[in-house]
Amino acid sequence: MLARVANNLFWMGRYIERSEHLARYMNVNYFSSLDAPNDISQSRQFVLRSMLFVADEEEIKDIKELDEQEVLFDIGLNPDKPFSIVSSINNAQQNANGARDLISTELYESINTLKRTVNNYDKNIFVKNGLFDFTTMVTTNVASLRTKIRGTLLHDEVYAIIMLGIYIERANQVIRIINSKYNDALIEKVNFGSSLTKSYEWTTLLKCVESYDMMRRYYRKVPTSHTVLDFLILNPHCPRSIMNSLKCIDSYIGYLSKEEFPDKDSAAFLIGKLKYEHMFKTIEDVQGDLKGFIEKLVDDLSLVGEKMDKDYFSLY
């Protein structure tokens, strides 16, 4: 596979995954806040700030008062904002376009159709009362894209590259969402005096990554910071957990490199090391310094991306 096209496919995977996380985060936060137990978590400003934090934390730095329709438009349909859902989907489509001879017609057409649907979505309807429909449409369509990726492509290098994009982005997004919800829980604690361990935000966090039901099934307990973080960071069976993403990244890089003893400077070596480091971590290790853990993981994932660039796309 051409190095240039591999780069396109990698980013196609990333943008597809990113758009889904953003859409779901908007949906869950907005609607769960309507039933939230206290004034803070019901507050529009609190919710909008949380959404913008996940979309692009730089955006909220200088803004004191957020306008709901403006924030929804910026994250959802503003083509001038590089972090918006529409930008992600347009980027995914452009990347697919540069590799359309390698992917299945079914997958290409689905991305193309989603791009057209999102770009033609009525802005006014979306910002007034269309948030649920729009975000549900995006998450449903992205789920369908993932099915098309799994079900219509050869499970070869092309597939491995796309899946690498998906899992690296998933790990990044989940860690961002954990970070955001951890901050929300802290704000609630500071302002409302509620318990950080039992904050309502942990339930929202689970819903934001579509893991609520399975977490309840696994622990059979009310979510607490301890169980939620254990489930979302270290549980290898939870499809949205960091551990599962690291396992998958390791497996797909292994498929590409096919070397038993990868070079110490390679992406394969780094991700293997990262996976095993996390396999033998306990949630106590993580919770001791959650902030530091998050920062290190974001840096490590970014380094994996850089090494991948060097190992597979550098000829381009």
Partner: protein, 488 residues
């Protein structure tokens, strides 16, 4: 725009008896091959048709069969306008077209070989030497070179029209980078999605086998010593207006779609940059013009090509499809000599008619052209896409004088042909919400390889969407129709 009505779609159709109408005879009867289709379509109201038309457009957008149009403010995605009423070509009629197109492609290939070797046809005075010497598309670098398999024009597109006499005439041969085949397949696919029931009533050839035949042809011209050739399609990139076609061809053949920046030359071999390092390339179906394929040999500013590619080609390490320098034979001035070229190389009479052509480099013909501009179509010999064409009876007196001055300045650059009566075909006109006759032509696609050839059983019917317009090129606002070739 008129509001759609519930009237049948042909209720307001009026054909112009000055032209051959593809569906109706001058007695207002429906031609035999169209009868079933006409009856099926007659059941549709205009409203039904508007809905189907919208569905078909959606199918094109969703399939990404689009091109980008740039304006000052924004980039717009557009589709090549597609008409739901297909054109039907009967079996016998098609056989003649197919034999004729293949005959021309073979003759042109032999002509190209001769031009780059002994030039016997020139020495025998059949084709004038100055016509070749003055051609911008003749590449001296190709002289004496033997392309793999002896093939120059692996892919040819022949443009045909049907005149008032019901006969097909060749308008021109395209043997540089003829495009449009992706629309042939795309049109069929869109029509099948939209009018699926209609296909139960007709036995037509499918057009989806083009890719496999193209791959067989380009594999047949692999360099010496190569067992399993690695073939690629070379595109200028995603911003090229024909990018959809390039990606379509690569996908149909299951080969890589590369850009110049993906290729690399080492020790006179061509390699592509893959995630596993460099991988050798043996055959390149290039959709980049001659002058841009190698900045070391041709246009030094080209970023689309690969430095050193031409040298590899000359050393027989890679094959280029179509061969560089092929354009000398699709010069419109050469077209004038096609009957003689066919006779000379194949010792056959041309199966398809040539449109009578005046070449302005011949003094007596120049005189006739200058005196009769209003009755002629004037075409530059080296343009494509319908650019630079003047249709005499559409020009004002001042415009005619301007055309005369232009011709006199460089007569070699122009040919003239009588204004042909391109046949018309019922076409749905969105702005009018009704069917109206529009002029059409037909581009066929012929493949030549080493001991293998193929003509796609179908073609691109192009439609001039403006009333009375004779220029059908997509770049001039034309549309297209699905084209069915019926089985026996």
């Amino acid at each position: 725009m008129k509001a759609p009505t519930s009237l049948p779609i042909f209720s307001s159709y009026e054909f112009d008896s000055r032209f051959y109408d593809e569906i109706f005879t001058n007695n207002n009867e429906v031609r035999e091959v169209y009868k079933t289709l006409f009856n099926l379509f007659s059941e549709y109201s205009v409203n039904d048709f508007v809905n189907l038309n919208d569905k078909a457009k959606d199918a094109f957008f969703n399939q990404g069969i689009t091109f980008q149009v740039y304006s000052d403010q924004e980039t717009k995605e557009k589709i090549f306008p597609f008409d739901l009423f297909p054109r039907i070509i009967g079996h016998e009629e098609w056989c003649k077209i197919e034999r004729g197109a293949l005959q021309r492609s073979k003759a042109l290939n032999l002509f190209l070989w001769d031009l780059y070797h002994d030039q016997k046809i020139i020495k025998q005075g059949i084709v004038p030497k100055e016509l070749i010497d003055s051609s911008a598309n003749y590449l001296k670098q190709m002289q004496g070179f033997n392309p793999p398999g002896g093939v120059y024009n692996h892919v040819s597109g022949t443009d045909l029209i049907k005149h008032l006499d019901g006969e097909y005439y060749v308008l021109e041969d395209n043997i540089r980078c003829p495009s449009g085949v992706s629309y042939v397949v795309g049109n069929r696919s869109a029509l099948k999605r939209t009018l699926f029931g209609v296909f139960n009533h007709y036995q037509s050839y499918n057009v989806s086998d083009y890719g496999e035949n193209l791959l067989e042809v380009i594999e047949s011209v692999k360099p010496k010593g190569v067992d399993l050739p690695k073939c690629v399609v070379l595109t200028p990139g995603v911003y090229n207006s024909a990018y959809y076609e390039h990606s379509f061809l690569a996908k149909q053949m299951g080969v890589e779609l590369v850009e110049g920046r993906d290729l690399f030359i080492e020790n006179d071999f061509v390699y592509m940059k893959t995630i596993k390092g460099l991988e050798r390339v043996d055959v390149i179906y290039r959709r980049v013009d001659d002058l841009f394929i190698d900045p070391l040999e041709f246009n030094k500013d080209s970023l689309l090509g690969v430095p050193g590619l031409f040298k590899c080609y000359m050393k027989g390490k890679v094959c280029l499809v179509n061969a560089p320098g092929t354009g000398v034979a699709d010069d419109k001035a050469i077209y004038t000599y096609m009957p003689q070229i066919i006779k000379y190389y194949l010792d056959e009479e041309p199966i398809l008619n040539n449109v009578h052509t005046y070449h302005c480099s011949r003094p007596d013909e120049l005189k006739y052209v200058l005196e009769n501009v209003d009755k002629l179509v004037i075409k530059p010999v080296d343009e494509s896409g319908g650019y630079g064409i003047s249709i005499g009876n559409k020009l004002t007196k001042e415009e005619i004088e301007k055309v005369k001055v232009t011709i006199k300045e460089s007569p070699r650059k122009y040919i003239a042909q009588p204004i042909m009566s391109l046949s018309t075909h019922p076409t749905y006109i969105e702005e009018e919400n009704s069917f109206e006759p529009r002029h059409v032509d037909l581009r066929t696609f012929t493949l030549l390889g080493k001991d293998v050839d193929f003509v796609l059983k179908g073609g691109l019917t192009r439609v001039a969407l403006k009333r009375g317009n004779l220029v059908v090129n997509s770049s001039q606002g034309g549309g297209s129709k699905d084209t069915w070739v019926l089985k026996k």
